[in-house]
């Protein structure tokens, strides 16, 4: 072990922290999900909510609590009698007649001192005309039950430029709801995937191979033997196998069973758990370490074309370009090695030694990877990118409303996910019927006719349509407190994923049925 290493340990473990500060304690339960990086992204975000409805304030509550930087409620309405009854962020009867935005901002602000809130009582129409740049200055824009015409204008504005903020469109009536996130492109490094990266047992790097071959299993005492990490056992067993099989891996089912038996035959005592672990993990020997197909697919992303890479491309695509080059150039044609070793039966010394081998190699590969970077990228980001290289995600979106204009896609969706599609269409029909006059109370017949005109006269509506239409006709203006709260959680969750660029947001229209209590996604 070099002195360099022990010094690292020294500095890593002697800097004793004191008890965390108030802010860390307050956010402890969420920092465990998105860490300081996610938190700082939230804290620098600015969220625009169009309307101060119960759904809107529920969404905001779940964003103010975890600590976004700023929110604005844009709403020119005065608190009505019915608002005062279904919105927790109004002072009941006392708020009636006052500005809905101002009342809600005041009460939402009380949830978290570090969040800045503003009420804006202008109309959206006037801003769209005179100050569209005000809208595009936000990090993300959310609109609940917005008038159809205004919504079209708003979504068109925000789609104009890929740099403009994403738009979340939320619609609800009674027990039914849906929402959609309009965005051009969303890149994710920390997807928090549950898939773990390869340990490269099938393609051991030289130091690992040498280490595995240098150990003399038969000269160990029973304790040592019972604590050889499975990674070492497998590398060793696979080398032996290849020697006696002309260099090839266990291929057929029979060969693989034979390999596993061979691993177990290495035991000197029946209860050696490390050899049992090796048997369970033996699949790693014949699961070839290569670039996962999802990542290979990203390598042909148009953003990587030379023209696109010039100047103002995001660091993500520079990292992706470097990754592509790395996998083409390196002799294993794999992603850079992970430095994280899972826990396994082993004594401390063997485990720490193995961990160090992985760390050292990972660092070497990371340096090679870095040499392919054309622009300087922050070291922490490079680290995170390499660590998550097996689970990177690039999402490309469509403008709001394109699904409803695509009769073929709607027809397909009606046959594969009839219930969800019918709910979505019924909400679309309601929105169209109320365009320009939100006080219209449409009949079941008019909703059905409108849906039919959306999907085209030759598409037959499934039986599920009646359920959706009936519920919408029953309660076209109803914003149920529970539906508002449910949507408040759902939408806030997705907004947090968008802002932090961690975890994977929903694609397409997320449809919610609170009668059967289920959700589904269509039109992705």
């Amino acid at each position: 072990m070099s002195s360099q290493d022990s010094q690292d340990i020294e500095t890593a473990t002697t800097a004793i922290e004191s008890a965390p500060d108030t802010k860390t304690r307050r956010y402890d339960r969420q920092l465990r999900l998105w860490a300081a990086t996610g938190q700082s992204a939230l804290e620098s975000s600015r969220v625009l909510l169009i309307s101060g409805s119960a759904t809107s304030t529920s969404i905001l509550k779940n964003l103010v609590l975890p600590g976004i930087g700023h929110f604005t409620i844009l709403d020119h309405a005065k608190v009505s009698h019915s608002d005062a009854g279904n919105n927790f962020f109004l002072e009941g009867y006392n708020s009636i007649g006052k500005s809905r935005a101002e009342e809600a901002v005041q009460l939402l602000g009380e949830l978290n001192d570090s969040v800045e809130g503003r009420a804006d009582t202008r109309t959206l129409g006037s801003i769209l005309k005179a100050h569209p740049e005000w809208i595009t200055s936000f990090t993300i824009v959310i609109a609940h039950n917005l008038d159809h015409t205004l919504l079209n204008e708003l979504s068109a504005l925000l789609w104009k430029d890929a740099k403009y903020p994403p738009l979340v469109v939320v619609r609800s009536a009674g027990f039914l709801a849906d929402f959609y996130i309009q965005f051009h492109e969303h890149t994710i490094i920390e997807s928090h995937s549950e898939i773990s990266p390869s340990l490269r047992i099938d393609k051991p790097f030289p130091a690992l191979r040498e280490h595995a071959l240098s150990l003399e299993f038969d000269k160990m005492d029973s304790t040592e033997h019972g604590h050889i990490p499975y990674v070492v056992i497998l590398v060793r067993a696979l080398e032996d196998w290849k020697k006696s099989h002309g260099g090839s891996l266990p291929k057929s089912y029979e060969e693989r069973q034979q390999f596993k038996k061979g691993v177990l035959a290495l035991k000197v005592k029946g209860d050696e758990e490390n050899f049992d672990e090796a048997e369970t993990q033996a699949y790693r020997c014949w699961t070839e370490t290569k670039v996962p197909s999802e990542i290979t697919a990203l390598f042909s992303d148009p953003a990587l074309f030379i023209e696109a890479m010039d100047s103002n491309q995001s660091p993500f695509f520079h990292l992706l370009a470097a990754l592509k080059e790395y996998t083409e150039q390196c002799d294993t044609h794999t992603l850079p090695l992970t430095s994280t070793l899972p826990d396994m039966k082993s004594d401390t010394h063997n485990y720490i030694h193995l961990q160090r081998l992985y760390k050292t190699r990972a660092e070497e590969e990371r340096q090679v990877f870095k040499s392919y970077l054309r622009v300087p990228v922050d070291d922490a980001m490079v680290d995170s990118f390499v660590k998550n290289a097996h689970a990177l995600v690039v999402l490309r979106g469509k403008p709001w409303g394109t699904f409803d204009e695509d009769k073929a896609a709607l027809g397909e969706s009606l046959s594969t996910m009839p219930k969800e599609t019918c709910i979505h269409l019924a909400l679309s029909a309601l929105s169209l019927l109320q365009a320009g006059d939100t006080s219209v109370s449409p009949s079941a017949e008019s909703i059905r006719a409108k849906i039919q005109s959306i999907v085209g006269q030759y598409t037959e509506l499934p039986d599920e349509a009646d359920d959706a239409i009936g519920e919408i006709a029953r309660a076209p203006f109803s914003e149920l407190p529970n539906t508002a709260a449910f949507l408040g959680g759902m939408v806030a969750q997705e907004v947090i994923k968008m802002i932090t660029k961690q975890y994977v947001p929903v694609r397409g229209y997320c449809v919610i049925d609170l009668i059967e209590t289920c959700t589904g996604t269509i039109g992705a």
Binding site: S222, T223, K269, D271
Partner: protein, 177 residues
């Protein structure tokens, strides 16, 4: 309110009363009354109406711990069998898998506990520790080292400890019967 009563699947079920005893309590009764212990193991309930706290004495009739009587306390909480019983050795003994505080290293008492296991499996597991002490995954490292490197010395130490003797500054409980 919805009329749940009418949904009861058959009239019969509706006329049957439900037991009032807690699930943990019944499960402990079941575990205890179906114990099938060899003569080398004996339970002792200081209060026979309290089934959740008792001791188990193991008197191995073979192996290196032959001649000793080893007592373990069992504490079962109301979350049984979702949680395993808490078991501790009540004496200071010289054993590779039991430390001087009485902690016992037995997989089914911690990481491998499953609700399908029962008190009988735990007791059998404990007895096995005295027949086959495991030197490779020890709790008392010195004892384990001795067992691995110098079996004769280990056996001698076991005898000394069982007599209530002193090994390397530690005085052990006299457990000879």
């Amino acid at each position: 309110m919805i009329k749940i009563w009418s949904m009861k699947k058959n009239e019969d079920a509706a006329t049957k009363k439900r037991p009032k005893t807690s699930a943990a309590q019944i499960r402990v009764q079941k575990d205890l009354t179906e114990l099938d212990l060899p003569p080398t193991m004996k339970t002792n309930f200081p209060d026979p109406t309290d089934l959740l706290n008792f001791t188990l004495t193991i008197t191995p009739d073979e192996g290196m711990y032959n001649g000793g009587a080893f007592t373990f306390s069992f504490t079962i909480n109301t979350n049984y069998p979702h949680e395993p019983p808490k078991v501790k050795c009540m004496q200071t003994i010289y054993h590779p898998n039991v430390d001087l505080e009485g902690n016992v290293c037995l997989n089914i008492l911690r990481e491998d506990w499953k609700p399908v296991l029962n008190l009988n499996s735990v007791m059998v597991g404990l007895q096995y520790l005295f027949l086959e002490p495991n030197a490779d995954d020890p709790l008392n490292k010195e004892a384990a080292e001795e067992l691995r490197k110098n079996r004769e010395q280990f056996l001698y130490n076991v005898k000394t400890s069982m007599r209530g003797g002193n090994i390397k500054g530690v005085t052990y409980h006299k457990v000879l019967v």
